[in-house]
């Protein structure tokens, strides 16, 4: 049951997928699970569609976690988000509004092969697990493989590098599957959120160049308010701003691609911490991290619903 699943521990891919199946069977009024394709190693790419079913037109928000395999707090947050939505839909007016007015497409683990590999072999694996016969190394950086200034600054052409952009854009079946889905549904997807770790930042486009986006005012305002409410929870400071200047320049990112492809509000979260634990964020910090992030995500969602064109 929802109350028996432990959201304050990290779960293997199998556990997460079992959990998704279970919610699909037990919460059909708010959840519908579907697959958007297969990974390189043949695993299903599951997505949860969350929200009150309605025949009326509803806009949507896409949320993905686990683009980079070793960033386990990402998938933990995606699960937390779903849990909060189901548990507080009736009691929290904000959540009820979100579920009634929007659909949320949640992909708890985008890089399923890499995530599984980080559980079983190499805890610090980052990339996908694809292999081209002529190259000695496996994997592509799934956040450098999108078709937006592909393989330019901040990405590597070398297959053994952790920021390898791939042999061509959308070479990775996982990236291709998500890209296809977003292309198909872009008319009603209003926001794209992607969760990574670690740096404690809330980023928006562009990553690939130092230039302000056309709708900077609303995006910046949403980001500012989100980090402010996040800070109000436990006093944890998140920086915010365009990814290129706040973090570093990188080309081929999912956030930039989603923006370029017509989703007007795209963000990337870099969750806790800033390096004390790094990728090994202890499980006892899952709850505070997800609690503060949840507040920020709700704030962004409402801001975009009410204040932005």
């Amino acid at each position: 049951s929802l109350s028996e699943y432990n959201y304050e521990v990290y779960h293997s891919l199998e556990e997460i997928q079992n959990w998704m199946h279970h919610l699909n069977n037990t919460h059909s009024g708010l959840i519908h699970m579907f697959s958007i394709g297969k990974s390189y190693e043949g695993r299903s790419l599951f997505v949860l569609k969350l929200g009150r079913r309605s025949r009326a037109y509803k806009r949507a928000v896409w949320i993905d976690c686990g683009i980079h395999a070793r960033e386990w707090i990402g998938p933990a947050f995606c699960q937390w988000f779903v849990k909060e939505a189901l548990l507080t839909y009736r009691s929290d007016p904000t959540m009820r509004k979100m579920m009634n007015h929007l659909y949320f497409y949640i992909m708890p683990v985008l890089n399923v092969d890499g995530y599984h590999f980080s559980w079983t072999n190499d805890r610090f694996w980052r990339k996908t697990r694809s292999k081209r016969s002529k190259f000695p190394c496996r994997g592509v950086d799934a956040n450098r493989n999108w078709k937006v200034k592909w393989c330019d600054e901040g990405a590597s052409m070398h297959p053994c590098d952790d920021t390898y952009c791939g042999p061509f854009p959308e070479s990775e079946p996982e990236v291709k599957a998500v890209a296809n889905f977003l292309r198909k549904h872009k008319k009603h997807i209003r926001a794209y959120l992607s969760f990574h770790a670690y740096a404690q930042m809330l980023l928006y486009p562009y990553s690939y160049k130092y230039e302000a986006i056309p709708n900077f005012n609303c995006v910046e305002s949403a980001a500012y308010k989100a980090v402010s409410v996040l800070y109000s929870v436990y006093g944890v400071l998140y920086k915010y701003g365009p990814a290129s200047s706040t973090l570093y320049v990188s080309s081929g990112s999912s956030m930039d691609w989603a923006y370029k492809n017509g989703i007007p509000y795209t963000f990337a979260f870099e969750l806790r911490d800033t390096g004390h634990f790094g990728f090994l964020l202890p499980e006892m910090l899952i709850k505070p991290t997800c609690t503060e992030t949840m507040v920020a995500v709700k704030n962004i969602t409402l801001h975009l619903l009410k204040k932005c064109p």
Binding site: R123, G154, M284
Partner: protein, 99 residues
């Protein structure tokens, strides 16, 4: 042991090169020692003032630390032994499960 004890003796070290020259030599030695970069995501981003977190295998940490001392590049050991950290967290989880 988790992950077949492969991370025994591995360290995570934070480095902040102060000058362009330090950044250049740091990138060179990190490339030679085949470090696992935690942040930033690529050595190409490392320049003066860049907070750089590297996961160095146990057989390379002595060489890296010796280099940093000689070059007087400030560093801080974030994680003394990665395997211990992983096992400790796993042990805590097992205790919680037993409780």
């Amino acid at each position: 042991h988790l992950y077949s004890n492969r991370y025994a003796g591995d360290k995570v070290i934070r480095l902040v090169p102060n000058t362009k020259e330090e950044a250049y030599t740091l990138k060179k030695i990190c490339h030679q020692l085949k470090v696992d970069l935690w942040q930033p995501s690529s050595l190409s981003y490392v320049s003066e003032g860049t907070v750089t977190d590297v996961h160095i295998p146990h057989n390379g940490s002595r060489a890296l630390l010796a280099f940093l001392e000689e070059a007087t590049i400030p560093y801080k050991i974030l994680i003394e032994d990665l395997q211990n950290t992983l096992e400790k967290e796993n042990s805590l989880q097992a205790q919680r499960n037993r409780r």
